[in-house]
Symmetry: C2
Subunit: 604 residues, 2 copies
């Protein structure tokens, strides 16, 4: 027996578990040959019943019936349904900006076409280490009328009782089980379960690696609270003081007595909805109380709509999802976020961007080795034959050429060898980046309320027409951020046509995550005089309510920005800094018009 390629041989032996890697989008179109069907399946007919029992296995049967019968609706009689990971399907998934892994999935919607899941007002409660929804290689999928929550959240919260220079005392409610042992505080699934400790014990640990203070009364991140990142831990040095009070033995923590310390997870393993290589996915009247990662993550997908949904905590908690409410990577078609409430998530309300890979090695005149640099982009294989790419100078972010992929051979989740249809631009060097040119989505963000979350509101990094209107923002960082860089996050951005109008920005910048309410940045470190990354931005008819003389607009390396008819109102909601900033902080930009006047950019 001989094998040309050991890996393809090994592939033959794959059984039982499924590994999914990300390749270029594949848009399924409803087959004309199928007879039209409107069949509805009721989960009750499959033993999926409210109450307390695990419905995962019965749900699998109901989904199989949908598939077999071509049913277009799966309905849940109103009730509270529980899903456990024990008997769930499993697949290795790469999920951009979240954590990859072998995941159990309650709703594995692989390859479905035209299916609506209607909760009819039900609550879906997920237990343990379980991924709620995965939509993959599917089309026309609608989620409506249900809420999503977890029995035990992936984060924990404790009320601050005392603080000094050596540590902090916090009290945990019974909602957040924990243990203190051998000087370490560890969050767990259940406090009363403990097998014998051995060389292979693991237990159901809820690892944590981030602290952030919330204002308990205002139910938002505390005024100017800072992130405490713990690199490489999942527990904290601590002493048990009894009565559910724990002393964190961490020097120099800041926090106000009565406020809530939020202990964020050290992973993003369990996003709420993962949408991969799918098209026409809609969310209508969905409430997402919690997920261990982002709320909705769309990647390599076409046409996603989120309307009349809520990301909001339950059970009096400060935090909803433990990362962004929504996030879209290398998507196409349209993205519509309308009439939603995004609050208390532990990161931005949305971010719509592409991905850059870095040139690691030039192998031949038309062949390079590229690397996915960001750990949470590993396995994001968007390079495949026929994909057109742009070549971007690493430090200036200037595009200097394009080509079409003819062959892509993956070394592993990090490195891929890519061959092109023509010789590469002569100026290409190691450290440059490349991204896919594609049908950039049209983005509509309208009628949403974004508030009380960590960090920013909307990250607009999409070259399709982008309209942001009639939204209400109350974010501790920038309400709207434009970025894109090819050295740290490796996110492709650069708007081409963006309108921001009729929004209310109320007392933004009460935290540490931004320098301007609307912050138009880019990771440009060279050729600032020439590089113009974001273009054609119109900001009009907005109301800025501001408690401080902070910067309303920052623009860096922009070509074409008009600011007109915006209203500014002074408030006293938070303490003012006393040191006024420039209202408009414009540098290295062309064609900027502020209230009718062409801005003279002295930095040019």
């Amino acid at each position: 027996m001989k094998f040309e390629n050991c890996l393809s041989f090994a592939l033959l032996l794959c059984v039982g578990i499924v590994v999914i890697t990300l390749t270029a989008p594949r848009h399924l179109v409803a087959s004309e040959s199928l007879a039209p069907q409107t069949h509805t399946i009721n989960v009750a007919d499959f033993g999926v019943i409210p109450g307390g029992k695990d419905c995962t296995r019965e749900l699998k049967n109901a989904l199989a019936a949908c598939r077999a019968k071509g049913a277009k609706r799966l309905v849940f009689p109103k009730g509270q349904y529980h899903f456990l990971p024990d008997h769930a399907d499993e697949a290795y998934l790469f999920v951009s900006n979240n954590d990859e892994g072998l995941k159990r999935m309650a709703f594995p919607l692989f390859g479905f076409e035209d299916l609506t899941i209607d909760g009819q007002g039900s609550e879906f409660i997920f237990h343990g280490f379980l991924n709620p929804f995965v939509v993959q290689d599917a089309s026309k999928i609608t989620f409506e009328n249900f809420s999503v929550d977890f029995d035990r959240t992936f984060h924990s919260e404790g009320v601050i009782l005392a603080v000094d220079n050596e540590g902090m005392n916090v009290r945990f409610s019974e909602q957040f089980p924990y243990k203190v042992s051998k000087g370490l505080l560890t969050f767990v699934a259940h406090e009363n379960e403990n097998g014998p400790l051995t060389s292979v014990s693991k237990g159901d640990i809820y690892g944590s690696g981030h602290l952030l203070e919330f204002d308990t009364a205002k139910r938002e991140t505390a005024f100017m609270a800072k992130d405490y990142f713990f690199n490489g831990t999942l527990s904290y040095p601590a002493k048990d003081l009894g009565g559910r009070v724990v002393r964190l033995m961490i020097p120099k923590l800041a926090g106000k007595i009565g406020n809530t310390m939020v202990f964020g997870p050290n992973h993003r393993n369990y996003p709420g909805f993962i949408i991969t290589r799918s098209s026409d996915v809609s969310f209508e009247n969905i409430t997402l109380h919690h997920s261990g990662g982002m709320g909705i993550l769309g990647q390599l997908s076409h046409n996603i709509r989120v309307n009349n949904c809520k990301v909001t905590p339950s059970h009096g908690r400060m935090l909803s999802t433990t990362a962004d409410a929504t996030h879209f990577v290398n998507c196409t078609g349209y993205i519509r976020l309308t009439n939603n409430l995004f609050e208390n998530q532990k990161d931005d309300a949305t971010n719509i961007h592409g991905i850059y890979v870095q040139v690691a090695e030039i192998l031949a005149p038309n062949e390079i080795l590229v690397q996915l640099k960001h750990r949470q982009q590993h396995g994001f294989d968007f390079l495949s034959p026929k994909v057109e790419v742009e070549f971007v100078r690493g430090k200036s972010m200037i595009t200097f050429g394009t080509a079409t992929v003819t062959k892509a051979v993956r070394e592993n989740k990090e490195f891929t060898r890519v061959t092109f249809d023509k010789p590469l631009p002569k100026e290409l060097v190691v450290g440059d980046a490349l991204a896919a040119l594609r049908d950039y989505p049209e983005v509509t963000i309208a009628g949403n309320t974004i508030r009380n979350n960590r960090a920013r509101g909307m990250l607009l990094n999409c070259r399709g027409k982008t309209v942001v209107e009639n939204n209400y923002f109350h974010t501790p960082g920038a309400a709207i951020l434009f970025e894109g860089d090819s050295f740290f996050w490796f996110e492709q951005g650069g708007v081409r046509d963006c309108v921001i109008r009729n929004n209310v920005f109320e007392n933004c910048l009460f935290g540490v995550w931004g320098k301007a309410v609307i912050d138009v940045k880019a990771g440009i470190r060279e050729d600032k005089d020439k590089s113009r990354y974001n273009r054609n931005i119109l900001i009009e008819n907005n109301t800025f309510k501001a408690f401080d003389d902070y910067t309303l607009l920052l623009a860096y390396c922009v070509d074409g920005l008009t600011w007109r008819n915006n209203k500014v109102e002074k408030t006293t909601a938070y303490p003012a800094s006393g040191t006024p900033s420039k209202r408009f902080d414009i540098s290295y930009s062309d064609n900027v018009v502020i209230d009718g006047e062409v801005f003279k950019d002295a930095s040019n």
Copy 2:
């Protein structure tokens, strides 16, 4: 588009990475149709050169050439070769008694037949998070004449400088990089590298979760030292005292000044050699200085020989491999461990056993749902059509029936639905166990030196003829342990014909891991009067050098054991306890003959 089964659809989309699950053994037999070849390939011809550069990619080309040309030898000119994970192949591997995961592999020997890798005295140094050798679905693979080490070990070691009731001060050499930050000690790859801390930072953390004191002078586990297991951590509460001295803020640690505290990894991700579904694999003159998991792990494989090899630390370290030196699971044919040195590994020298699954649900008269209970056995899919199994009562471990598998459908890595050729025994209940009946290997363990490691020497849990002769044991726990249970480790054992002769057991039991030098146990909690798990054991012509009046032989639920012509010598190597134990501790056993006399078992 419709799909009978969403998973088989998803499987079609697998690209680029390989997922391997474990199924029943497949023994490759050299194909008669191939022309005999003796071609040798020299790695130097492919740019694999000693020095310091990463040879991983060039090695891949050399291995591809071996495959293409049917070469039978791959030789390395003597030198020091380095392998990095960056460009290594990747596969998701389930590795019994170690940790599963998506692994980078330096030597991915998938599907090879008849290949010898001859290092000619070379040193192979592996860097970072890399699995050195994976032999899978291969046959006639020989490793000879090289050593294996890691640039940065997965464990760390610190010399104890001071101890009190609140903590312990230890000094780390530069060999073990670490950081102390926010009250936590974390081991790292390099002390001087640190990117910005963000919501997605990870860094190259060398997680640790186990402490064990070693006697620095004697280079063995300290006298009666105890394990400190840390469930669910990867760092320790600590203060940096400067000068590479760290104070562990962990109460009640014991340790002698000058001794070495070994910080074991919190995983078994990087075993040295993984052998899966392969046959005729030999090791000759291999030195294994380190691995992040077991040294050699054979599973579902046929005929493995380890001769004239060493597991031993380098660079003055106390620890070699961070788990067992060797370990064999559901193997067949023969296992021969001859003329080896196994020292300073952080667990037993070997363990040869099968795996039990637990009956989780009875689905039909001939169908059950079974569960792999032990986390490090997940994905061990040994149940497939034609496999004959025994049914075992959970608490008594009495076998009460057999049947043959006709169908096995995996729910996930943990649960499988199994259908049999006939109705299951009527007495079968949830909680019972089942294991594969198979061609149990003949085991030869001869001429080895086993010393200074944590825990035990040899774990004999194999029903094939087992001969243990001419070995030297100096182990802190039992030198030879027989076990098997179906409630915690789920390891199938039960010898049927075992000879232990001409061995020297010198000052064993200087630690906490055993109650007798030869300890014949089983996890039997019911029907002790009837259950006889280990059978036909002959112990003769051995020498026991003992520093204490401890138990030489413990036998529990044994049928047939003869002890004859063994010599006992008294030593003063360690402090005696002062409380003599029974020399022979026999209970619930039949046909036990000690020095010619039938032992009357009062417990029966």
